[in-house]
């Protein structure tokens, strides 16, 4: 049906996009408590919900997020056609757009749909962890120099371009091959790839499905961190909880480690922008009704769905390559600083994971083994022991799950469990999760004061601006320890090690 609203010179056409108004007034009484760490919003909450919503949170964390719209967004997400199991929400959840951050949803493959908004604009935003053999106490006199060199070699901040300028052909190779292309340039070793989700080179990528505009945005940004919450951090392994796993990962108490958090930069943002736009038409073509236009989707088997999947995988490969290039320059900085001191400067990859991605995986859901498209938006894959997707050396312990905390606070290394496979589509949390807007954070935190406080506590900060620093203040985030206690308490992960920052490089 075509509705025309006359307004002076303009005509507003709303031809066929059927918006369902949703009235939410959610309270704790709407949740069914499954156990101390798990809550459910049943399908009966709203007639358009296709599946229930399961939330992993303590009562305190759940009550806190009632202040924002993350639960409402989870309910909206549960209205996508072709969903199976539950829409899951992790304890680091917060309000996003379309899906909540911390959301996981699976659609049956290939009959179900894929939603770019369920993956996010920063496709394959993720975290890489590198382990060193360098003792923190012995490194103290070199950390200022190391911070300076990392800041010089790993471009960060608004509008920063990288030092690698890709030709059209080279960019297509990055999109097709990801970290493998970087290895061919001499900036990665085989172990790096083996210890990266999808070996850093996800199959099914097709650069022809990526627009010229997206490629233009990506050509000069390979090897850059970007701005916002992206960072490069040198940590010290403060405490080990699971010695066998820590040993296999090369994490030793008192030694330095490095985390790199970034994604697919402008290229990924543009891929998502292009397809969210294109899918505005696709939902009409396939008669899909949704409560929010950011949730637009297309059947995985449709030309539109296939194109997006191939483009999204291309952007994911770009992100793997981006973190690999940054790892190369991080190694260069370590070598320059520590080699002359006779210190073993090597950095071994622990793992690299995506936390904004759509993956075709096989899971047992409601007792049935099925192939699904798992959307993870601000959620990390957390496969348990024995899964064939894991590197050989991690088969006994499960997949490393990397959970960076807010700036200046702890980060965690966890491993996935068999229970995560059964209860959360092999997924876990991805970070601390914001609780305060950037605007509010800048009101209550002075960047310069924060910089001094962090430096006085032994953290060397290299950041583009004090206001950017204030936006990322620890006060703006949940307590990462509480988030980790929740996923561990729920049985989705097991704690391996806690990391404490000593150098933070930010945009």
């Amino acid at each position: 049906m075509k509705k025309v609203i006359g307004c002076g010179l303009f005509l507003i056409y709303r031809n066929g996009f059927k918006r369902k108004e949703v009235n939410y007034s959610m309270a704790m009484k709407d949740f069914i408590q499954i156990n101390e760490y798990e809550w459910e919003i049943p399908r009966s909450y709203h007639p358009d919900m296709q599946v229930p919503v399961r939330i992993f949170a303590t009562r305190k964390l759940l009550e806190e997020v009632m202040n924002d719209r993350s639960i409402e967004q989870a309910v909206n997400s549960a209205m996508l056609p072709g969903l199976v199991g539950n829409v899951l929400v992790m304890p680091d959840m917060h309000q996003g757009y379309g899906f909540p951050i911390g959301g996981v949803a699976a659609t049956r493959y290939p009959e179900g749909v894929i939603s770019p908004g369920g993956i996010g604009y920063d496709i394959n935003c993720g975290v890489r962890l590198l382990a060193s053999r360098i003792d923190y106490d012995h490194s103290l006199t070199f950390l200022d120099q190391l911070a300076e060199r990392l800041y010089q070699l790993c471009p960060s901040g608004v509008g920063e371009k990288g030092t690698i300028h890709l030709s059209e052909k080279e960019l297509d190779q990055v999109l097709s091959r990801g970290s493998r292309w970087v290895m061919n340039q001499g900036m990665a070793c085989e172990q790096d790839l083996l210890r990266t989700e999808e070996n850093g080179s996800i199959e099914g990528a097709d650069p022809n499905k990526v627009s010229k505009r997206a490629k233009d945005r990506g050509r000069q940004q390979l090897g850059t961190l970007g701005a916002g919450n992206h960072f490069l951090e040198v940590d010290v392994v403060e405490q080990v909880f699971y010695p066998k796993a820590a040993q296999l990962m090369g994490l030793e108490e008192g030694n330095l480690a490095v985390q790199i958090h970034c994604g697919s930069r402008g290229l990924g943002h543009q891929v998502c922008t292009d397809y969210v736009d294109e899918f505005q038409v696709a939902v009409k073509k396939y008669n899909i009704r949704l409560p929010d236009r950011e949730l637009v989707c297309a059947p995985l088997s449709s030309p539109e769905g296939k194109s997006y999947l191939a483009a999204m995988r291309s952007a994911a490969n770009y992100a793997f390559a981006n973190r690999q290039v940054l790892a190369h320059y991080t190694r260069k900085a370590f070598e320059e600083v520590f080699f002359k001191e006779g210190v073993d400067y090597r950095l071994d990859q622990v793992y690299d994971i995506a936390h904004n991605i759509g993956k075709i995986e096989t899971h047992v859901i409601n007792g049935e083994k099925m192939t699904v498209c798992v959307h993870r938006k601000g959620a990390t894959r957390a496969f348990g022991p024995g899964n064939q997707a894991l590197p050989q050396e991690y088969l006994d312990i499960g997949q490393p799950v990397l959970v960076p905390g807010s700036m200046g606070t702890a980060s965690w290394v966890l491993v996935g469990t068999e229970e995560s496979m059964e209860r959360s589509l092999g997924s876990s949390c991805h970070g601390a999760g914001r609780v305060m807007s950037r605007h509010q954070a800048k009101k209550v935190v002075r960047g310069e004061k924060l910089r001094n406080e962090l430096q006085n506590s032994g953290i060397r900060i290299k950041a583009g601006s004090n206001s950017g620093l204030a936006e990322e203040a620890p006060h703006a985030y949940k307590d990462v320890d509480m988030v980790v206690e929740t996923v561990a308490g729920a049985g989705l992960t097991r704690k391996v090690a806690r990391l404490r920052p000593v150098i933070v490089i930010k945009g």
Binding site: D122, R217, D277, S437
Partner: protein, 132 residues
């Protein structure tokens, strides 16, 4: 015409209002620029033509703002004065642009989250969430 920021835990949400549609679009662009403290070199400005088409007004708004973000990201060109017209779901006009001398944040994308241009006797109103 005006805009203000609405509290959002992670991204940027602006509420924008204006008496007419063209002014609403301009206010959205100025709100976006103001939120990232976009400053351009005033001594070397250029006039750039813009033409955007879409199937509905919300699409037109997203595409318009996305185009301006693309200039920022790829050409390092910020914008200043907008001289635009909207007719039959087509936006046409000129934009004064200049090299960016300062910008304090990076907007990844203009989202469609709950995007709806409202029209009533007071004029036009819209809320836009930008991914930061």
């Amino acid at each position: 015409m005006g805009f203000h920021e609405i509290s959002h835990p992670a991204d940027l949400e602006l509420e924008i209002w204006a008496d007419d549609l063209v002014t609403l679009f301009k206010a959205a662009a100025y709100g976006m620029a103001s939120s990232i403290a976009l400053e351009i070199d005033q001594s070397k400005k250029e006039i750039k033509e813009i033409e955007i088409k879409a199937l509905d007004l919300e699409s037109l708004l997203v595409r318009f703002l996305t185009e301006l973000l693309f200039w920022i990201d790829i050409e390092n060109q910020g914008f200043d004065k907008l001289d635009i017209l909207i007719s039959d779901l087509c936006l046409r006009g000129t934009v004064e642009t200049g090299l960016i001398v300062r910008m304090k944040a990076e907007i990844k994308a203009v989202t469609w989250h709950n995007l709806k241009i409202q029209v009533d006797e007071k004029g036009y109103r819209v809320r836009i969430v930008f991914d930061l």
